[in-house]
């Protein structure tokens, strides 16, 4: 069968830590700090709206772009929260999670040989999606700046073949985010070179130390930005698969072309539920955020105390500590920790080959479990400390 597989797909590197993932999934009674989704279930009012829509018989296709009432709700949310106005008619496309948005955007813009900048470490799909779309991902290492992209670092990677940049803030796996001022500086460089900015702002509601600034809300940035967001993290709706892309009319039209042939539309039940989220779920979002924030303070101080150096993440629900002190690399650390203490974490190399010193810890876990897991990690680290 192998002969039938496309060269591009064959060249795509399977994740190096798949085996480790399988190990975790095959084990019982593990405390997992490896989960990339909220530990809350979708708020009841949202689930209830999904059920009601089914009872009322909403089981059809919707417009390719998504239900108009959902696009209007997204329009209002973005306007009221971030002060950006996207027309519900032709500047908003409802997608199957941000993942589809990333795929559509890259496929809509790439010509062979075009380059896309990808600050690292990053969410797993950006590089492979770029390659699949026929482009070349150019990875920007951010280790020296505590995993933050800086204008100086960025400038080094820019050449005429660079068509766009894709980045995520607050970021998975590091929790790094940017203040308005920092974004302004990045914007100057990027727009100065007419680089299309694809921003994945799925964790925007989980920003703890300052107000989240949407990239397109920066003066002059909107026409150079494709803004991606969704319901998975803010509303704990990962399994519903609803995201959205907002951007310049032409780009949204191009993406809609691909979307209408491949996906047709996002499931109507999910769209109806998402509407309810924007209408009434804000309080639930606030409650979740408060809880995450407390866990963050606890986890980060505890990690630093036991000797796993960790910068303070500004958002999302991840910490990205270094395990260097133990003499192990991230993968060894994760494997041994799983075997000896039954705690699962994700090795940093899942998010880029260079990140061998780090592990990703998700604090989207009930507080009692988090506490227990950190105690076990403390025992583990003191046993192995060099």
């Amino acid at each position: 069968m192998k002969d039938y597989i496309s060269k591009t797909v064959e060249k795509m590197k399977p994740s190096g830590i798949r085996a480790f993932f399988d190990l975790v999934l095959g084990m019982k009674d593990v405390i997992s700090l490896g989960v990339g989704e909220p530990d809350f279930v979708t708020p009841w009012e949202i689930r209830e709206a999904g059920i009601t829509s089914l009872e009322q018989g909403f089981t059809s296709y919707t417009s390719n772009k998504g239900l108009l009432k959902l696009r209007l709700a997204i329009h209002n949310y973005l306007k009221n929260t971030f002060g950006i106005s996207y027309s519900a008619d032709d500047e908003i496309l409802v997608t199957v999670g941000v993942s589809e948005g990333v795929d559509l955007a890259l496929r809509a813009i790439m010509n062979p040989g075009d380059k896309i900048l990808v600050p690292m470490p990053c969410y797993v799909s950006y590089g492979p999606m770029t390659e699949l779309a026929g482009g070349i991902p150019v990875y920007i290492d951010t280790r020296r700046d505590d995993f933050k992209l800086t204008p100086q670092n960025l400038k080094k990677y820019i050449d005429p073949k660079v068509k766009g940049i894709i980045f995520n803030y607050p970021a998975n796996p590091t929790g790094v985010s940017y203040t308005r001022k920092e974004l302004e500086q990045l914007k100057k460089v990027l727009i100065g070179h007419k680089i299309l900015c694809i921003t994945d702002e799925i964790y925007c509601d989980l920003t703890y130390d300052f107000t989240h600034t949407a990239f397109p809300s920066l003066p002059g940035a909107k026409e150079y930005t494709l803004y991606l967001n969704g319901f998975s993290k803010s509303f704990a709706m990962t399994g519903w698969r609803v995201g959205y892309a907002c951007g310049p009319r032409d780009l949204i039209a191009a993406m809609t072309k691909i979307h209408q042939y491949t996906i047709m539309c996002v499931p109507i039940t999910s769209q109806m539920a998402a509407c309810e989220g924007l209408h009434s779920g804000r309080q639930s979002v606030e409650n979740m955020k408060r809880e995450y924030r407390r866990r963050r303070e606890f986890v980060v101080s505890q990690l630093n105390r036991i000797g796993l150096k960790c910068h303070m993440p500004h958002g999302a629900f991840y910490a990205f500590p270094s395990v260097r002190k133990t003499g192990m690399n991230g993968l060894e650390f994760a494997q041994k920790l799983l075997a000896e203490q039954k705690v699962a974490v994700v090795p940093g190399t899942a998010f880029g080959d260079e990140y061998t010193d780090n592990i990703r810890i998700s604090y989207a876990t009930a507080f009692e479990k988090l506490k227990e897991a950190l105690l076990r990690m403390e025992a583990f680290v003191s046993k192995h400390r060099k």
């Binding site: 993932f21 975790v24 999934l25 593990v30 997992s32 490896g34 989960v35 990339g36 989704e37 530990d39 279930v41 969410y123 797993v124 998975n172 408060r290 407390r294 866990r295 303070e297 606890f298 101080s301 505890q302 699962a344 994700v346 899942a350 507080f367 009692e368 506490k371």
Partner: protein, 161 residues
């Protein structure tokens, strides 16, 4: 509400040190605050929420919601009568409410007879009690924000990006 109260209301077993770490405060400061709340009567008690449906003890109990109509007393309103009623150990909760009756009681007893006896012999004959309606509780689904179900397993896959 103060964050310390919010945290303790959800889980009273979280230690002051842990609260300090969660809220970026000094643990001495958290301890002091908690003591103040305890002394000032803001924090009254720490207790476990027990799902009695799962406790198969010999001394089971029944509960009843009781609506009570009162005759208010001059100058004292309902407070004095309420006090006489809520002082009975059988009364576990007592609320003054608006609507068609005045007091809503939650009364506990060993069995249906004990509660009935309390209503007929102690509550109803009281001078200012005009009438009572007793509802025996059949099943508890949710109490004080806690859904009384066995813990559900985490439905997420154990590891994901």
């Amino acid at each position: 509400m103060d964050e310390i109260l919010e945290i303790l209301e959800k889980d009273a077993r979280i230690t002051p040190e842990e609260i300090a770490r969660m809220t970026k405060k000094k643990s001495a400061e958290v301890k002091k605050k908690i003591r103040q709340y305890e002394d000032g009567g803001v924090i009254l008690k720490y207790k476990a929420v027990i799902n009695r449906e799962l406790v198969h003890a010999r001394n089971e109990e029944v509960r009843a919601l009781i609506e009570v109509n009162l005759v208010p007393q001059k100058d004292l309103g309902f407070d004095k009568v309420a006090e006489r009623i809520y002082s009975f150990p059988e009364v576990s909760s007592c609320y003054l409410v608006s609507g068609t009756y005045d007091l809503l009681l939650i009364v506990r007893g060993r069995d249906i007879h004990t509660v009935s006896r309390f209503v007929s012999e102690k509550l109803s004959p009281m001078e200012n009690v005009r009438g009572v309606v007793t509802h025996f509780m059949l099943k508890k689904y949710k109490e004080d924000g806690v859904i009384l179900k066995q813990k559900e397993e985490d439905k997420r896959i154990a590891i994901s990006y």
